[in-house]
Amino acid sequence: MQRHQHLSLTLNGEPAEVSFAPYKTLLEVLREDLGLTGTKHGCELGECGACAVLVDGEPKLSCLVLALECEGKAIDTVEGLADGAKLHPLQAAFADLGAAQCGYCTPGILMTAKALLEKEKAPSRERIKEAISGNLCRCTGYQQIFEAIEEAAKRLGAEAAQRMNNESPR
């Protein structure tokens, strides 16, 4: 009897296949079967947000998603956030502005913030607070996280403007 399930998905932009015990959550398959330990766990009950990843671009708590449900889906984790060796503006801002202290909640917040900034180019402080309200951080008091997300939005905006300039026919 074949005990393991087999799954094909797009993982951080690359095709991937994995086999795993059918009861496992996406979080467990990422960490234990795909070796991507950047995604963290804090409760396994959907309470802390440490396990947030993007499923087809939407932030999801991977501890509440069965891996079986992910056939053919695009999964993005913190490991795929940087562009090669170049940090994503969110990562750079988090590192520069003290938004990561112990760093344990950081991957989940980074992915949640990425989804926010893809929808809204310049979110207000209130929108940022709302977007990450499901991600608990015990270290920072959140101020530096808010500031880092705002700074990343600015850097992304500047990068986009730069690209527009470069691409313009003149």
Partner: protein
């Protein structure tokens, strides 16, 4: 200063934002097995029998362990060696571990746990300090001092009663601070493995690898040289990973027996039950004051609910009184404390260790005093602040005090003078202060060795590797280490490699607790780096034809005027001249002047100071409390990295608000048919309420720099002190907003409503404890304060005060 004081990415920042920081549970080793612990379902019982047969026979199970496999006890304090890795016959709280299963995976281990059959003989349960005081039997621990009273302490520094009698006013107040827990987002995890030489390595999310190393060797009866403990970066500590833990002992034993790597990761519920968090403390303050607002003396009594084991409790209990003298001038002081055992998860050190509870009481009482005397609470505090370099009534030596400037900063920035007592009903401001240690003066076990050591390796390539036992728990200890060495050697902190928290590779550092790392590791690092600098300067001076003392080290260069070498070139010449380059530095705090038994808790190389103003809004219809803004100023001595320092302060504000408004570790009884067990009311992150991003107010943070001569470049702590004034400032702001006193934490809407109701009926507008039980405190140790002719020795010793304890 080239490096210190400048905002900068932390040296380990990149790893943290790329998911590359390797926490304990991220470690995966070939042939690794998984362990789960069976925990007691009874709060207090004797184990009659444990049937392991079905669990042992379950497919995929490799090993089942019980208390029989662990004859040696352990405990973090030498005076409280009261825990077994697995309880052999007596369980003392729901969650007390008594058996372990090691299996091919976590799922199998969990399934096999259900097959273990335990027969308990339930014992009567002690659920509160009052019950502990009135029920000496059944004894939770045979070694407790009196019945179920774990420890009794009493000290008198001058005749406090006489001081109170001569005071214009005596204020008597009761306060209660409910217990709460650390809630690090990373659950405790550990991996144990035997290396190729047959020696044990344990990777663990611990704040104290050195103490774990000592305990493992003793409990497993292995030579310490065959045990290596590596503290993985902690995903938050806050004191919750300061204890030596059952799971660390058991997983290590399993790896030794099986010869295979074994991992254990606690689940969230287990972390709540393991606890070691904030002790619930009932307090009685009697404080004397003159008509013009000078404090004359204080008598403080505390009753501390310890839970089922000793943990750090003896030290925690001392701390409920040791630091009441380091903020304001206190001519005479009497302190009595008792810690009791109850059948609940053991309490231990949480951020502020034993001091947030009495700080809450003291600062709220000062608010009441100011009101009664018609004074501004900020002026009352400014009038009483201790002088720099003071010696306190209980013989603590103070260094720099930047508190007056901290108070001025928050008063000015919050527009205090114009707004306090003048805001519309429902809105208010509250002010409070705090002080904390920069490292406990004594180690946990008595010894005269260094409390922190740093070793440097430098070579011709210019690379510098720093080895230190200090433990990175998120606070940035690696960054402090790199920054201080970089400052001395004039190089970039990113050019230094930090190897830390590894008992097999690094000099001993006692761990990340008591806010000790910056001061102790920093001083050791300066000493080591200075030695390297001297060698490099001598060789470089020779090459440049300049006397070594004229050389500067900065921006990666060793230079005088336009003569210069790169640091790497200079290091090469030094290697040529002196051979392989290395240096060590070590640090031990100065001896404290107190000589009485019990003087070991409270001394520190320096003290940090904080002032805080909280703005609160209270809805009188619902009791709902909103905090729109917090102003905080912290005397940090000198800032090493302002990005990290601000993060420590704001993280403290967050945790303080959360403790003030909602966090509580409380218990409920199951019905008799379910054994009447005393279980955690809310062992989940969803139900144990803590502040989220939506609840967090704006924080205005000021770092005040009053350098302390005992500290590296003057730098004091920032990790714990800033928490202390937040809770009382919230309580004081609520009083300013709606005129009710909530003398217990957390301050929840129902308590505010109850107090408002009382106010409406013309009763005392207060919610808080109204009774302090009779506690058989011993005759006090009598120590005259310095200004009454004392020399730091007791003139009368208490029978009870015979044990020498270290501090934490």
């Amino acid at each position: 200063m080239k490096v210190l004081g400048k905002p900068r990415r932390r040296v380990d920042g990149r790893a943290k934002v790329t998911g590359q920081t390797r926490f304990a549970d991220d470690i995966v080793l070939p042939r690794m097995l998984h362990m789960k612990l069976l925990r007691s379902s009874h709060p207090h019982a004797l184990i009659e029998s444990i049937d392991l047969e079905k669990a042992k026979a379950y497919p995929g199970v490799h090993l089942v362990l019980t208390g029989k496999d662990f004859p040696v006890t352990f405990g973090i304090l030498p005076v409280s060696q009261d825990e077994y890795p697995l309880a052999p016959e007596h369980v003392r709280y729901v969650g007390d571990p008594l058996a372990a299963v090691v299996a091919k995976d976590e799922q199998t281990a969990a399934e096999a746990l259900d097959l273990i059959e335990v027969r308990y003989k339930p014992l009567a349960t002690i659920s509160s300090p009052e019950e502990a005081l009135s029920n000496p039997e059944p004894r939770i621990h045979a070694y407790s001092e009196l019945g179920n009273i774990h420890r009794l302490q009493a000290f008198e520094f001058g005749d406090a009663e006489e001081a109170l009698a001569k005071s214009d006013h005596v204020f008597e107040d009761l306060f209660f601070y409910e217990g709460n827990t650390h809630l690090p987002i990373e659950q405790h995890a550990a991996v144990a493995a035997m290396d190729g030489e047959g020696k044990l390595t344990l990777w663990s999310s611990t704040q104290v690898p050195h103490y774990v190393h000592r305990s493992l060797a003793r409990v497993l009866q292995l030579p310490a040289s065959h045990v290596r403990v590596i503290a993985t970066p902690n995903g938050g500590g806050f004191g919750g990973k300061c204890d030596v833990c059952n799971h660390e002992m058991v997983v290590a034993k399993a790896a030794v027996l099986l010869g295979r790597p074994v991992k254990v990761c606690l689940n969230r519920e287990e972390v709540f039950y393991m606890h070691r968090g904030r002790h619930p403390v009932l307090m009685k303050y009697r404080t004397g004051v003159t008509q013009d607002g000078k404090l004359t003396g204080m008598h403080l009594q505390t009753l501390v609910d310890g839970g089922g084991y000793g943990s750090y409790g003896v030290a925690s209990t001392f701390y409920t009184g040791a630091l009441q003298t380091v903020t304001y001038e206190m001519p005479r002081y009497k302190f009595e404390a008792a810690r009791v055992f109850t059948n609940k998860p053991p309490c231990g050190p949480k951020r502020g260790h034993g001091t947030p509870q009495p700080r809450f009481g003291q600062e709220v009482q000062l608010d009441k005093i100011a009101e009664k005397l018609g004074m501004d609470p900020a002026d009352l505090r400014l009038k009483n602040i201790l002088k720099a370099n003071a010696l306190t009534a209980n013989w603590l030596k103070i260094g720099s005090i930047g508190l007056a400037e901290c108070i001025r900063q928050v008063v000015e920035r919050s527009d205090w003078k114009r707004r306090f007592r003048k805001m519309p009903s429902g809105k208010g401001l509250g002010l409070a202060c705090g002080s904390y240690l920069c490292g406990a003066g004594l180690p946990i076990y008595w010894n005269k060795m260094p409390q922190s050591g740093v070793q440097l390796l430098v070579d011709r390539s210019g690379q510098v590797t720093a080895f230190c036992g200090a433990t990175e728990i998120g606070q940035g200890s690696d960054d402090v280490l790199a920054a201080i060495i970089a400052e001395v050697l004039g190089i970039d902190p990113f050019d230094i490699r930090c190897v830390t928290g590894d008992t097999g590779m690094t000099p001993v550092d006692l761990g990340s607790y008591s806010s000790r790392v910056t001061v102790m590791m920093g001083n050791a690092a300066i000493q080591a780096a200075d030695k390297i600098r001297q060698l490099v300067a001598e060789a470089a001076g020779e090459q440049l034809g300049v006397s070594p003392e004229r050389l500067s080290f900065a921006n990666g260069k060793v230079f005088f005027e336009n003569h210069s070498l790169t640091f790497a070139e200079a290091a090469g010449f030094a290697e040529e001249k002196f051979g392989t380059l290395g240096a060590v530095g070590s640090y031990r705090p100065p001896r404290s002047p107190g000589r009485y038994k019990g003087a070991g808790v409270g001394p520190s190389p320096a003290y940090s100071y904080t002032a805080c103003v909280v703005e609160a809004e209270v809805d009188p219809a619902t009791g709902w409390i909103t905090v729109p803004k917090v102003w905080i100023a912290h005397d940090i001595g000198r800032t090493i990295n302002p990005v990290l320092a601000r993060g420590q302060v704001e993280g403290s504000v967050y945790m303080g608000l959360s403790e003030a408004l909602m966090e509580e570790q409380v218990f409920r009884r199951l019905p008799p048919k379910l054994s009447g067990a005393l279980v955690h009311k809310i062992p989940s992150l969803l139900e144990y309420k803590s502040l989220t991003s939506l609840d967090m107010p704006e924080v205005d943070t000021v770092l005040v720099e009053d350098p302390d001569p005992n500290c590296p470049f003057g730098a004091k702590e920032a990790g714990q002190g800033p928490l202390l004034p937040v809770m009382p400032a919230v309580a004081n702001a609520i009083y300013d907003a709606v005129g009710v006193r909530i003398d217990e934490l957390p301050i929840t809407p129902d308590k505010v409503l109850r107090a408002l109701e009382r106010k409406g009926k013309g009763e005392q507008p207060r919610v808080g404890p109204d009774h302090f039980p009779s506690v058989p405190y011993p005759e006090p140790v009598v120590v005259p304060p310095p200004w009454e002719g004392g020399d730091g020795n007791a003139v009368r010793d208490s029978e009870k005060s015979k044990t020498k304890v270290g501090a934490a």
